[in-house]
Symmetry: C2
Subunit: 335 residues, 2 copies
């Protein structure tokens, strides 16, 4: 079958190293892809380009509709529009899917049975970017929650649960305080849950839900929530599963998708052949499924697990009784 | 010395049981207080009274300026103004202090070294309650962050650290997205931190900060943050320290304060002599310090620890090798 064209950005900080490792691994596994590289991020921002993406890069994204993105660095100093948010909203990538899985016993974790998928609304909420300075002393940010936006993400969560053989979808909101906005999200959740009698559903106030997620993640399966809660709690869930460094994420829209690691560009670790490529690699695994090459995805995932099983690991992770050989980014990829 | 008049609300659900237990314990320890009881909560809401507080109860609060409050139940069905938020804003209780401490080995925890105090801004943020229905399909909630509000809470956090011999204050914000509102909070944090060279300071983006807090709470000391993050992350921190059922909280204003458990009214456990009074009791311990009876506070805290040490515990907690005798609310209080 034909190669699938994908747009790739090597990013900043540790980005280039983990992208090189990721591409090497998936190509070795036989991924049928044609890579079109774009430059985005820090240097582009510093040239004064909005959101750190040149027009020609936007064209590549529009053409290929599949984007594998390494972490980028936003320059210090403010006024820079988030690249992630710009791509998510430009292509209506409304669903951010973040599997947070324990790889026990190959990665140390206090929650060996954990297997949670966080499905984060990805376009609305406080990510609207609408803020006012009412007076020099008072700032205001807008949180927006719409019915169509809530319906899309909640339906996505139930469809995801059904097609991935998952038993339960949980909703997190704070509708005892945000009765209108989070209230609408909750109401939509209840309506759509009723259309899926085969899938269990429950809703938690986000404070106590987050506490339970951090303490007993085994009690959750698929969890759907508005954008900002999803941002915070997917980092929490990924970290307690093993490490934010191991989590990949899929940003899914109608005909377009972006795949990434959930962690940042870690500039202080850059250029030292230290970084763990696993987060981006698992993002690439989600991409391979998305472009219809699930057998390659499985091969990559198994090879990755096998490497950990053999005790080969980067500096940032460890497993008692399993870890044998600490290696660099390149050596990990080769293994 | 003279008795201090305090206003007490026994609340709903498990409220009356844990309040009776708490008052019995602190009186037995010699607390010099005169109790004025008010009725607030579910029944008052159902009589149509705003925020579930009668005018006469507001008068008691205004007079006594110290409020020990059991959890209450807000009736189902929406439209009810939060009692907690009403009291916090009416009396400008701007600082919500939530110690999240591991009581290892007397309570099971995965984080035995944990000793974090979350200082949550308590008047602003998305708790403004200002929401609009822009169209039937679009809801908007306002997040408000002010300079005076941020200055008050950040200064409180550094003063708290100094007077409690704590070494570090950490700030959590999401100012890469909310550049104006969270940006202001962060800016104020940096300004005020500079006035306290004796205390270490650091700021984290709330997503990765929350992940680190959930995974390595031992790395934190005092953590200050806007209202909603504080709501969510204090539940997370209390739960991983042992249980949300063990955390008390102080809501502090200029000349007025409210003390409570951070958990809810658990209606399904009510009236069965099951509930753990520890959260409210530790709230009362904070109250005793506040009203100038620290020796009573210490006596109560020690008696409580001693009871756990002897293996006496309520149904909701357990400690391997320590727990011996599961008892009810009343028996726990008697012990
Ligand atoms: C970089 C930042 C804007 C982004 C977000 O907040 O969504 C990141 O934290 C993420 O989770 O992908
Ligand atoms: C009951 C609710 C309004 C309250 C809050 O959100 O502040 C509670 O969760 C708390 O943390 O005290």
């Amino acid at each position: 079958s034909q190669n699938v064209p994908i747009t790739v950005a090597r990013g900043d900080g540790i980005g280039p190293e983990i992208m090189d490792a990721t591409l090497k691994i998936i190509k070795a596994a036989g991924a049928r892809i044609d890579i079109e590289e774009i430059e985005v991020g820090e240097q582009v921002y510093l040239r004064g380009v909005s959101a750190g993406i040149e027009p020609s890069a936007w064209e590549s994204l529009s053409r290929n509709k599949v984007f594998l993105k390494a972490p980028i660095t936003t320059p210090q100093g403010g006024g820079y529009k988030s690249l992630n948010v710009a791509v998510r909203t430009a292509f209506s990538l409304y669903a951010n899917v973040r599997p947070c899985v324990a790889y026990h016993p190959f990665v140390d974790t206090k929650h060996p049975g954990m297997d949670v998928v966080i499905i984060r609304e990805n376009e609305e909420d406080l990510y609207s970017g609408i803020e006012y300075q009412q007076t020099p002393l008072m700032m205001e940010s807008l949180k927006l929650i719409s019915r169509p936006g809530s319906e899309k993400i909640v339906r996505y969560a139930f469809e995801y649960a059904r097609s991935n053989n998952r038993k339960k979808v949980t909703c997190f909101v704070k509708d005892n305080i945000m009765k209108q906005s989070d209230g609408l999200f909750h109401k939509v959740f209840d309506e759509i849950a009723a259309e899926y009698p085969d899938i269990e559903n429950e809703a938690w106030i986000v404070d106590i839900g987050a506490a339970k997620l951090a303490d007993t993640p085994e009690a959750f399966d698929v969890v759907v929530m508005p954008n900002l809660y999803g941002d915070i709690l997917s980092d929490v869930a990924a970290q307690i599963a093993g490490s934010v460094g191991l989590a990949g994420s899929a940003n899914i829209g109608e005909g377009c998708a972006m795949f990434e690691a959930i962690h940042g560009s870690a500039p202080r670790r850059a250029g030292q052949n230290l970084a763990n490529p696993s987060g981006l690699l698992l993002g690439a695994v989600l991409m391979l499924v998305h472009i219809g090459q699930p057998e390659i995805a499985t091969a990559v995932h198994n090879a990755w697990l096998r490497t950990l099983e053999e005790g080969i690991h980067t500096y940032d992770i460890y497993a008692e009784g399993v870890s044998k050989q600490k290696v660099g980014t390149r050596e990990f990829a080769d293994a």
